[in-house]
Amino acid sequence: MKITRMHGAGGKVMQELIKDVILKNLEITSVNGGIGLESLDDSSTIPIGDKEIVFTVDGHTVKPIFFPGGDIGRLAVSGTVNDLAVMGAKPLALSLSLIIPEGFNLEDLEKIIKSINETCKEAEVAIITGDTKVSDGVDDIIISTAGVGVVDRGKAIRDCNVQEGDAIIVSGNIGEHGLAILLSREGFDFETNIKSDVAPVNKMIERVLEEGIEIHAMKDLTRGGLADALNEMAEKSNIGITIFEDKIPISDEVQSICDILGLDPLTIANEGKVVIAVKKEDAERCLDILREHPLGKNAEIIGYATKEHKGVVMETIVGRRIVDMPIGDPIPRVC
């Protein structure tokens, strides 16, 4: 079998690849009893003394590399910082590994590095190590960033600990990153305000944690969108999640373009949004704190965790719909 685009699209096919080919063949995957690779959480941890080092890595390719609302540099920093942040960790430092194709425009490279710098300042993280390669084997620039953060021992927030009755909160409008990339990649030349939401969310999450909100589980929304994140949390926590369609924050513009193209906004990528399972009693307070932050101004409580069913079920005006783990491109199923 050959690797296809579907294997990299997030969702079920990719999960199978990771489990059956990668995890199966690696034997040592955790240190000191910390969170290891097999958890497939956003980051892993290494307990040391009364702290845990939180560690993650992310490779970034995106077409086009400059897109409305951001660029590959901002994406490379935000993606890794967010993976640390949703563990409840304070991100400290990143590594920066560049694979640059032969013939790449020097001005573009400089623009990207400047963007990396701006985003690091916003997130208050340092780039402390790096590596640069020029290759004739890649089509476009690839940026890998590893990130290190720190959290108090035993305080890391997992994605597998959603509890019955928890309120499910999403920190803002969904679908913006994926749609912005898609439209700009395909040369969509209509007037639109759709911009990628790519941003580091660690400062916003720190505010929530400082206020002592009891967060049971947290994830950033990336490939596969909200549908992927919720399914993963529900499955790993062995619980059901019910959400309400009319509560899901989404801009009219994203909604209307999705309606015309036949895309499900629940499955479209984000790069600056998190989904949080929070103790019911803390939900409203958590929402207020999120909304005070510019990145969280559209935050909403979209549902709750339940033992009445498994997986993710969405209440709509025409009955309840099972929200699937997305599998890459949508496949028609209506007769």
């Binding site: 079920k12 015309i260 193209l261 025409v318 009955g319 099972i322 028609p332 199923r333 209506v334 007769c335």
Partner: protein, 762 residues
């Protein structure tokens, strides 16, 4: 003197079998007993050899009309026990894991009706009147054996008089599990949604008055709830349409038998089916006088679905009106409501009044629907009156196979030996509620067939069907193997199994959507069945489904996509004239089509017919499954005359761009819509038949069949049939299993038995 033990398997419960045995034992001077074993009946008789022989003859030849004997095991026994009389012994649970059968629901019989309309009878106008040979069965049963205490009739202890009848072996209510009377049985009441406004007979009389006034009533029946209103005026029908969110889907009607000929054309087969005790809805051609009696909003097709009353209550509803709309009380895609609380809550704002009763419906069971196509009555839906009666197939099998079906018009089945027990109609399992119903129905059919062990779970290849996920879960639970069958292969297997035809054949498998082996969407497939294996040997041209499922909902998208292929940019100017899409939408659609964004590839027949339907301005938005193509058929039916065409075929692929382009050209040349509609139908029928014939000729095959949802289309199916017969082929078509996705579970079972494994993801 001798003594024998007889085990009878088949439909022998709830059909008056034991009283019948009692009577023939007495008649033949035999002693002994008869006993219900849960999934079979055991008889021990003692007497003269000759009498025993006569007894066995009677057993075979005089058995009750609803019973069916599949197997008789007879063995002689030698013990010293002897009997002083013949007895009917209380039921015992059998430990043997063997198939038992709960009979399907049966319409009220003539004897009971006579009592119900006899002023002097104690059951005068009592709507729950039933006897050993009639009344509800499957819908009230909780578990085997079929005894009163295992049904919802246990809530109604028999009064003295009823008990007498129940205990008297010579009474026609002897051991009639659903028997009751006005004193001890269930009661009807009428509610306005807030409170009960009338009870018992008053409730019924009041309900009739309200119906005649044009009100919409929810009527709780045997296996579920109907929404009813009069058919003769527009307003009630339109109100019902609006409240239900069903703008165009034809409503079924219930009519008294003498009236049907007033408004419909009925042939002998159709009449027999209408009158049969199974009482399905029969889709009939409207007659010339139809419009005299019916509001035009009841059905916008040239057909009307008709059923006759099947419960006592139904008979009491007819006074002045000749027919009522009787549509399942469910919101689109969701299961029909059946419990009183639920009826009142969910139909609030839909029904004006509620005619309910206090008997629990244990198993929901929608009305069955049949239609005559190509000289056969075929199932559009196989449910009440048929489920859970097994379908027997001439195959050898020693595994217990659970098949979960596809996603729309869903049914599931359990296969044991050569018997296929299909569940009642489930519906669209992409909805959570309906998905839960599928799970319940599966548990139920396992319980009713005493099945504790599953060897294999079979499902569709579509990676996102909820039924596929359920299959994985069940395979896990039972430690069973999981087996995936390509959708159109399953249709073909279903056709073959339906006909017990396992010789080589070419099958046209035509429908709207199914996940193909290549990851594309299939639906116009020419399949070669040879040596037990299926191979795709031809199909419709691949087209882009502009916007995925949206192209199914809005058929103009499909037209645009195909026309764009034929004439390029001009297609947009043409589509603009329909005034359906805004400028902005058109611009986006153009962008989408050029970039092939969310434009999956399809060979679906449904999508091509949809495009023609949109082209002719017949349907721009699908509000129920198959609507655009279903509404195209009556237009084509108007065309009288012959048409010979030459479909364009290359490499066994039928060119559908040509079909659409020709239709478009005809439209521009002011040809009649009926002619264009007809052209499209026969283009598909003749084109696919030509491919099939070529394959058959090449491989020396002499049978051609047709299956899938498109095979409900009379024009296409009958054209293929006539072509096949003209060319000297056997023609294979359905009659026991639904052509559409309601038959997929059956085909999945056949596929597993024939060990034809489709590889996931091609």
């Amino acid at each position: 003197m001798m003594k024998v033990r007889i085990k009878v398997k088949g439909i022998v419960q709830g059909v008056g079998f034991r009283p019948f045995v009692y009577r023939i034992a007495k008649k033949n001077n035999l002693k002994g007993f008869v006993k219900n074993m849960g999934n079979y009946v055991e008889i021990v008789v003692e007497g003269k050899k000759e009498d025993i022989e006569n007894f066995i003859k009677d057993l075979k030849n005089k058995k009750p009309p609803l019973s069916r004997i599949d197997k008789l095991d007879i063995e002689e026994i030698n013990d010293n026990l002897s009997f002083d009389d013949f007895y009917i012994i209380k039921s015992e649970d059998s430990r043997e894991e063997e198939e038992g059968t709960i009979p399907a629901d049966v319409a009220i019989c003539d004897d009971c009706l006579k009592e119900m309309f006899d002023k002097n009878d104690r059951r005068y106008r009592y709507p729950f009147t039933a006897c050993t040979t009639c009344g509800p069965r499957f819908t009230i049963v909780e578990k085997l054996p079929y005894d009163r205490e295992n049904t919802s009739m246990r809530d109604f202890p028999l009064c003295e008089k009823c008990l007498e009848e129940y205990k008297n072996p010579l009474d026609r209510r002897f051991h009639a599990q659903a028997t009751c009377c006005p004193v001890c049985g269930p009661k009807v009441f009428l509610s306005d949604g807030k409170e009960v406004i009338a009870e018992k007979d008053e409730a019924i009389k009041e309900a009739v008055k309200l119906l005649e006034e044009g009100k919409i009533l929810a009527i709780k029946g045997i296996g579920g709830t109907h929404l009813a209103c009069k058919v003769s005026e527009n307003e009630p029908v339109l109100n019902l349409r609006k409240r239900l969110g069903r703008p165009t889907q034809p409503f079924a009607v219930m009519s008294k038998r003498d009236y049907v000929d007033l408004f419909a054309e009925v042939d002998e087969d159709e009449r027999n089916m209408l009158l049969s005790l199974r009482r399905p809805i029969v889709v009939l051609k409207k007659s010339e006088n139809y419009d005299k009696y019916f509001s035009k909003y009841v059905s916008n097709l040239d057909t009307i679905g008709v059923m006759l009353p099947y419960s006592g209550l139904h008979y009491l509803l007819f006074d002045k009106e000749i027919a009522y709309v009787m549509t399942s009380a469910n919101l689109p895609g969701l299961p029909m409501v059946k419990d009183n609380d639920e009826i009142l809550k969910k139909l609030d704002g839909i029904a004006d009044y509620f005619l309910l009763h206090n008997r629990r419906i244990v198993n929901r069971c929608d009305d069955s629907v049949v239609k005559k196509v190509a000289n056969r009555l075929v199932f559009l839906r196989r449910s009440r009156g048929f489920a859970p009666e097994p379908i027997k197939v001439d195959v050898e099998n020693d595994k217990n196979i659970l098949c979960v079906g596809a996603e729309l018009n869903s049914t599931a089945c359990i296969v044991k030996k050569n018997k296929f027990y299909l569940t009642q109609y489930i519906g669209n399992t992409s909805k959570y509620e309906t998905f839960c119903y599928l799970r319940d129905a599966i548990n139920n059919i396992l319980r009713l067939t005493n099945t504790n062990k599953i060897d294999a779970v079979v499902c569709d290849l579509h990676p996102q069907f909820n039924s596929t996920k359920l299959a994985e879960e069940l395979a896990d639970k039972f430690g069973a193997e999981i087996f995936r069958v390509q959708h159109h292969f399953a249709h073909a297997y279903s056709l073959l199994g339906d006909n017990n035809y396992f010789d080589d054949a070419v099958v046209l498998s035509l429908d709207g959507v199914g996940y193909g082996l290549d990851g594309n969407i299939w639906g116009g497939e020419v399949l070669l069945f040879k040596d037990g294996k299926i191979e795709r040997v031809g199909h419709l041209e691949e087209q882009y489904q502009l916007g995925g499922d949206l192209a199914t909902k809005y058929p103009l998208r499909m037209l645009l996509s195909i026309l764009y292929k034929a004439i390029g940019e001009e297609a947009f100017d043409f589509i603009k004239k329909y005034n359906f899409f805004s400028e902005k939408e058109l611009a986006l659609l153009k962008f989408q089509l050029e970039k092939k964004l969310n434009c999956p590839i399809t060979t679906s027949t449904g999508r091509v017919l949809d495009a023609v339907s949109a082209l002719l301005g017949i349907c721009f938005e699908k509000t129920y499954d198959g609507e655009p193509s279903i509404r195209l058929e009556p237009e084509a039916n108007k065309f009288k005359g012959n048409m010979e065409i030459e479909p364009k075929i290359k490499n066994n692929i039928l060119d559908t761009t040509e079909l659409i382009y020709k239709s478009y050209e005809m439209l521009l040349n002011d040809e009649s819509k009926e002619k264009i509609a007809y052209f499209a139908h026969i283009y598909i029928a003749d084109g696919l038949f030509e491919i099939a014939k070529k394959m058959a000729d090449r491989t020396g095959i002499n049978a051609v069949g047709i299956t899938g949802g498109v095979s409900y289309n009379r024009i296409i199916t009958e054209r293929v049939m006539n072509n096949a017969k003209r060319e000297g082929f056997d023609f294979i078509y359905h009659n026991r299993v639904p052509n559409g996705d309601g038959g997929i579970c059956f085909g999945q079972g056949i596929a597993y038995i024939l060990k034809n494994r489709a590889e996931p993801y091609g």
